[in-house]
């Protein structure tokens, strides 16, 4: 692009060579994919990934110091190789974003029998073209960063190193670390101790730690009311379903054209239903349901209807209030506000620790992180079972170093802005002068 009289492959290399080499990387990837199938992360699990990482970095350094004058190595640290490489990754990302993906762990028998499967497009992130492209970018990133150290250093270089070295560390760490990543679930019921985890394949394995569930607590939001079509069960109005969240006894509101007044509220109720009536009484017990008493008026009906509405529980049926022939008031299940597990943790080394685990507040032990994952849905807020996810990621430190550098680099970019060359300033002055 810079000197149009130049032929392809004639030095200095530019964008055309960049696109050709990038295409070559993809073709190599496709060949590997067709001959050897998708990349199996188990193949490069510890310690192989450490060896690959070390060899890769040492290789880059060696080549840089011996061949840094070589045209190809020099070209590999320019925008001419960078742009086609980023563009290629962008194309792969777009495909990844369009084609529904199957779990990395799904094996061939679970994939559809078509061309996309052969090319690895349903498991893009473990396909050879994707991984090779990432490594190609890493090579360019590495050489670019190394070349930069040979220049007279200025303040601007700090931003450059933060962004490029940061991305190098995060990307390399992310790829290599993915092989050592382990995710298991552990289901524990109140009062019990569990030390076995279940892998995504369904294998049960013994863990280096045990969890005792002391108590499990769910907090729910206030109950909501909706108007439903009795025939279809759909929430009205069809175009934009409305709902009303309980705000206190005596409150009046309008819901999908119906006037409502909340006349009573029972957070713990028992619901008894015979063929005609629902009978609702207060009852403090496990499995009690939430109930609201409502007076509803529909403009054309002079007589308001009044009655109890409840969303039931695993013991009691739900109960709706018929407003007219086609419409009823109902209470959907309450939304969960918080759920947390109070646990006692035992580690292999004999340590004991009490902790609270909840969503967004995982517990970290050695290289393991313990997450609040789920609970017994069928029992809702009375669940006495908690499901944890245990994640092992020994490479996390690298990722965090890379992310921290990229964060600092982004702040640097925001503050410093683009490089304003003297050349550009001169050009503006020239343009101004030619205008006046």
């Amino acid at each position: 692009m810079n000197n149009s009289s130049r032929k392809v492959w004639e030095s200095p290399w530019g964008y055309p060579e960049g696109f050709i080499v990038a295409t070559g990387v993809v073709l190599a990837g496709i060949l590997l994919q067709l001959t050897s199938g998708k990349l199996n992360p188990d193949l490069y699990a510890y310690p192989v990934n450490i060896i690959i990482g070390a060899l890769f970095v040492i290789g880059l350094l060696t080549i840089h110091f011996i061949y840094k004058k070589s045209r190809i190595v020099r070209w590999l640290s320019t925008v001419y190789s960078t742009l086609p490489a980023i563009a290629l990754l962008l194309v792969l990302c777009i495909k990844l974003g369009l084609i529904p993906q199957l779990p990395v762990t799904a094996d061939e028998s679970q994939l559809p029998f078509d061309l996309f499967s052969y090319l690895g497009w349903y498991q893009m992130t473990t396909s050879w073209p994707f991984v090779l492209t990432c490594f190609y970018l890493l090579i360019i990133l590495g050489f670019t960063t190394l070349r930069r150290t040979g220049r007279k250093q200025s303040w601007r270089d700090i931003g450059f190193y933060l962004n490029h070295l940061g991305l190098f560390i995060a990307l390399l760490g992310g790829i290599l670390g993915s092989a050592d990543l382990e995710r298991l679930t552990m289901t524990v019921s109140e009062g019990n101790v569990e030390w076995r985890g279940t892998t995504h394949r369904g294998d049960v394995v013994e863990m280096p730690l045990a969890i005792q569930l002391d108590s499990f607590i769910i907090e729910e939001y206030e109950p909501k009311l909706v108007l439903i079509d009795t025939q279809t069960g759909r929430i009205l109005p069809d175009t934009r379903p409305e709902s009303y969240m309980y705000e206190g006894i005596g409150k009046k509101t309008q819901l999908a054209g119906i006037y409502l007044e909340i006349t009573d509220y029972l957070p713990h109720a028992a619901v008894f239903r015979d063929s005609i009536h629902s009978n609702i009484v207060p009852m403090q017990m496990e499995g009690a349901a939430t109930a609201l008493k409502v007076k509803a008026t529909y403009e054309s009906t002079a007589q308001p209807v009044e009655g109890w509405i409840s969303n039931g529980s695993y013991i009691f049926p739900h109960s709706t209030l018929q407003v007219d022939e086609n419409r009823s008031l109902a209470m959907p299940p309450q939304e969960v506000k918080r759920y947390s597990s109070h646990v006692t943790l035992y580690t292999d080394e004999g340590n004991t620790e009490k902790a609270v685990i909840e969503v967004n507040k995982p517990l970290s032990v050695n290289n393991w992180m313990i997450y609040q994952y789920s609970y017994d849905d069928s029992k809702g807020k009375y669940s006495d079972t908690s499901v944890f996810e245990l994640v092992y990621d020994p490479w996390l430190k690298f990722i965090y170093i890379g992310i921290a550098m990229l964060l600092a680099g982004a702040i640097y970019l925001f503050v410093a802005g683009p490089k304003t060359d003297n050349l550009i300033e001169e050009k503006i002055v020239e343009e101004r002068q030619s205008q006046s």
Partner: protein, 261 residues
């Protein structure tokens, strides 16, 4: 404060922004449009604050709520661009774009209630979304610059100055996109156990990021064509639209954990 009063606040702000845009053309001093625009921003900001208080959670969960922030940040980005680079036309354009999002919110509000699912209850939630919305506004503004450039074509004077302005806006924009994305990664580690899962939303965020990286690196060469640069900006903005709401309509998004109704 509830959505019922949105129409008064938003139309009030739009009126102020409109007057400010006209005053930028009429008056010689920048202080007058600055003051009127700021009044509009304060009025709109009051509504957001009031909604935040009444919902007892940051209004960032639904599409309608994020559109709210976008309508706020666009005129802000336009105002800053005007103050720094003197281009008056950016003001009416950003006001107009903001008006589009306000009208969508008036005619088609989402259901808004207080419930915030546990995964969203995190200190990362507000900075992550707000910084993304700010970057979207900035990159929306620079897309207007790109379209303006391509439409005016050869007739433009002083193209170098426009390119420098675009560079500045993209650098600030990609800085915010990077911050938003990485905060998202740190949050994902806390909430879902992994910092990056190539979920459709994440994939399109990466695609958007790569799009603007292409622009930045392409611009490093003095001989690069201005027109190509502007076309890259427009493509990158299309990727951003897919990331923001387009993913919800893609077949791949059925598996996304990042779609909240």
């Amino acid at each position: 404060m509830t959505w019922d009063s949105f129409i008064y606040f938003s139309l009030g702000s739009l009126l102020l922004w409109g007057v400010s845009d006209i005053s930028a053309y009429v008056s010689r001093k920048k202080i007058i449009p600055l003051l009127i625009s700021t009044a509009g921003l304060i009025l709109f900001g009051l509504f957001i604050a009031g909604l935040w208080i009444s919902l007892e959670r940051p209004p960032l969960r639904t599409m309608g709520e994020t559109r709210l922030w976008y309508s706020f940040f666009l005129p802000l980005a336009g105002l800053l661009t005007y103050l720094r680079w003197d281009y008056k036309w950016i003001l009416p354009f950003t006001t107009l774009l903001s008006a589009v999002f306000i009208i969508i919110n008036i005619t088609n509000p989402d259901i808004h209630n207080k419930a915030l699912m546990p995964a969203l209850q995190s200190p990362w939630f507000a900075p992550h979304v707000i910084i993304y919305m700010f970057s979207y506004a900035l990159l929306g503004a620079v897309t207007l610059v790109a379209v303006y450039y391509l439409v005016k074509g050869e007739k433009l004077e002083n193209t170098t100055k426009i390119m420098i302005m675009a560079d500045n806006m993209v650098y600030a924009g990609i800085a915010c996109v990077t911050l938003g994305m990485l905060m998202g990664a740190l949050w994902a580690k806390e909430a879902w156990g992994h910092y990056w899962s190539w979920d459709p939303k994440e994939t399109w965020a990466a695609a958007t990021w790569l799009g603007y990286l292409i622009y930045i690196h392409y611009r490093l060469k003095k001989r690069s064509s201005n027109k190509t640069s502007m076309i890259i900006l427009i493509i990158a903005f299309i990727l951003l639209q897919i990331c923001w709401y387009g993913v919800n309509y893609l077949p791949s998004a059925q598996q996304s954990i990042h779609t909240y109704s």
